[in-house]
């Protein structure tokens, strides 16, 4: 069923919630007649990035960056939406009574923050973002605004991610110490996996990197967009003994399943911000936790919030309580934005069908 934002009936001196309002289908912009990252099929959708909890199939019209549209096409097939429109970073278009402009979010390739301006009020829906450097996507751009909608995936002060290059060094040191074992790196297949590979290349690792079947399509798409990832090989069909001393990227769900039996005495690594907390890593049976995250850490969240100059902060998917509390202690107006269906992407335990035994 297709939903539609109500017609724009507003008066001068709008409140921010008259511009963007959380609804069951997602964040709804009534004066613009669209939803941002809707969780249910809607008539017009503006999508921040390609992760499946943000980019879903079945909308009427979709506005997103070319990369996000391409990724949706790869994931859902040609007919994932009624119609599509690509927008570049920095480009502004008019939708109904609002102006919409996309800015890099630094999360994954093609990820964007959406700035919605109506009259004099600017709201930035940042989607998922990180302020740390990432060789596989455009760097996060700070957008001054009145209301900033921030994620809070790692919204606790214990989450501090450090330098991802140091984590990759840890991985390479382990490969050097255990040359007879295979290293299996669990990483989300859109974004994280390609970033880990690019970081390995930056660290000077030039041996072939092996890929789980579920990683291949999206990784090759990254390469087609000019992201240098070096030599990649499918792990399927490679003899067990030939995998000693190699690095293989796989979806997190695959690193603890039957699939791992094809590797010689594998060291199980997992690249995720969750790996900062020991109990989390142990729960998953991870032997080599790598704290590499595509989300901003606590310091990133708080410094970004401060730098936007926004007087009002809406906090969504993650640890809202702590971040809302922090904002309020800094004299900012803040409230959690309850959006159902968001924030379960990295925690997902259910493998996508093609991940199971690929």
């Amino acid at each position: 069923m297709t939903r539609r934002c109500g017609d724009a009936t507003y008066i001068a001196g709008m409140r921010p919630q008259d511009i963007l309002l959380p609804t069951a289908a997602g964040l709804c912009c009534k004066p613009g007649g669209f939803h941002i990252d809707p969780v249910r099929p809607v008539e017009r959708a503006v999508i921040t990035h390609g992760h499946s909890d943000h980019a879903r199939a079945g909308h009427g019209a979709v506005l997103a960056t070319q990369e996000t549209l391409d990724m949706m096409r790869l994931r859902y097939g040609e007919n994932f939406a009624g119609s599509t429109q690509a927008i570049r970073y920095g480009e502004e278009i008019r939708l109904g009574d609002v102006r919409v402009r996309f800015h890099p979010a630094g999360h994954v390739l093609g990820s964007a923050q959406v700035a919605v301006t109506c009259q004099d009020t600017c709201i930035v829906a940042s989607g998922d973002y990180k302020d740390a450097a990432d060789p596989t996507c455009a760097r996060f751009e700070l957008v001054p605004c009145d209301v900033f909608i921030t994620e809070a995936t790692f919204g606790l002060p214990v989450f501090r991610h450090g330098d991802a290059a140091d984590e990759v060094k840890k991985l390479l040191a382990s490969v050097a110490l255990f040359p007879e074992r295979a290293h299996l790196v669990g990483a989300y297949s859109l974004g994280k996996a390609q970033r880990v590979i690019a970081l390995l290349r930056q660290a000077g690792y030039d041996a072939p990197v092996y890929l789980h079947g579920a990683m291949e399509t999206i990784t090759h798409y990254y390469q087609s967009r000019g992201i240098a990832l070096g030599e990649l090989r499918p792990v399927k069909g490679v003899k067990k003994s030939a995998l000693a001393g190699t690095i293989t990227l796989a979806p997190p769900s695959a690193t603890s399943d039957l699939w791992t039996r094809r590797f010689p005495d594998p060291v199980t690594a997992f690249a995720s911000g969750w790996m900062r907390v020991r109990a989390r890593a142990r729960q998953r049976g991870v032997e080599l936790p790598l704290v590499i995250s595509d989300h901003a850490d606590w310091d990133g969240l708080t410094s970004t919030i401060g730098a936007t100059g926004a007087g009002e902060i809406w906090v969504t998917h993650g640890q809202e309580d702590a971040l809302v509390h922090w904002c309020q202690s800094k004299g900012l107006k803040a409230r959690p934005l309850d959006l159902v269906g968001y924030g379960d992407e990295e925690e997902s335990e259910t493998p996508i069908p093609d991940e199971a035994e690929a």
């Binding site: 606790l156 840890k170 729960q283 922090w326």
Partner: protein
Amino acid sequence: MNRFAELLDRLAYEPGRNNKLRLITGYFREVGDPDRGYALAALTGALSFKHAKPALIRDLIAARTDPVLFGLSYDYVGDLSETVALMWPKAALAAHNNPPPPSLTEVVTTLRTLGKTELPKQLERWLDELDETGRWALLKLVTGALRIGISARLAKTAAAALGDKDPHEVELIWPGLSPPYLDLFAWLEGRAEKPVNRDPAPFRPVMLAHAIEDTDFAALDPADYIAEWKWDGIRVQAVAGRDDRGHITARLYSRTGEDITGSFPDLVPSLHLPGAIDGELLILREGRVQSFNVLQQRLNRKVVSPKLIKEFPIHLRAYDLLGDDENDLRELPFAERRERLERFVGKLDDPRIDLSPTVPFTSWDALTAARADPASAGAGEDADAVEGVMLKRRDAPYLPGRPKGQWWKWKRDPHIIDAVLMYAQRGHGKRSSYYSDYTFGVWTERDGGDELVPVGKAYFGFTDEELLQIDRFVRRNTTEKFGPVRHVVHEGDKGLVLEVAFEGLQRSPRHKSGVAMRFPRISRLRWDKPPREADRLETLEKMLKAEAAEIDV
């Protein structure tokens, strides 16, 4: 400190013994003196300084963070040291004036001499200088909670590997060494002679037995062997020697060389002649050996109170004599050492130390009968504390480790029950893709109907082939999943019956069933048996009663 922290961090996640060894040896190779020596001391529990209380750590973090944010974080992380390590906000320091993080040596040597009032300020400085992992390791170290699953033995083995030495050699000289072990590392790296153990009562590496199989007997001649009871206590080495001034020093070691004298001060006065006895630690009440369950109540106590000593009188039952005054007897044949032992124990003439009797036999059949009924074969009233028989070659010297064909252990048959598989959990390391840890239960009546109650957990005993079969069964018969744990179907006519072998049973308020098994393992898969025919809790309770009678004496 950061490098040591990195090692601890990695060790905390690594399940494999050999890989742990590689990591520790790699650290010793890479890190110089004296840091690696203090690391070895930390891993072997040889560091001594007054530990910081958790309350102190709480005060430190409270002074720097918002209490609400700390509360939310602590709830999420669940471990105080880790929470503080992760969220510690560094003091704003001038960028050009950042002191380097402290070395492990600096931390250890400072902690040794630091006064109580200076500790908070010092800890704060270090927390500012270290990274997340460094702070975590520091807090674990100062609170004395360095639990990372490394035994002292493993750390010493890793050190030995640095110089391709036998770990026994390190064990031998260990009591004479002290942190930061400069002489040890110099020897391991071939830069100096082997350190001499000047300890008057040193540990000697222990000789162990192989489990005998039915098929082994055909090749063995009864006349070559002496048999004795295998007592169900703790294997120890009791050593006494004279120091430079001629005073007797006595020590008690576990079979891995750990000094456990402090736990058994009541035995020390009995070790009044220089010599080294290999024997079994037991609890004796009115001359009768108590079961292992009774002994267990004396173990792992922080404080050995006079009451504990009185209620659990310790006893040493002697098997072998490795040293007699200055003489090393280990090269002598066992039969000869046994004679020396008999004379030595006679000379000691102490009620706390006696001789483990031999079991006379002329044929394997006779020994089989004795093993089946120790009470009428000489063990008398102590028969319940007999775990089986030991066979020792008359001509065997005392050799470290588990040499082939010299000593055999022939345990009594274990207890067996049929239980039903209830839950399965993924294993670790090599087994992380297998469901290899099994919780099993037996039937009991509850609310008018029969239901299964878990009685234990086992993760070995099966063959590789059986593991594959159980794994497949688990995957196909899962009713629910909780993270790494699967609920496996367990109904009267659906489920898998496991034959479980175990050594003993204890009452346990921590288990829902009220019983805890000792050394449970899967001995057979009973695909043929419907779950409803598995054993009942009453069977276990009957066994408990027999054992409880002894504890209540």
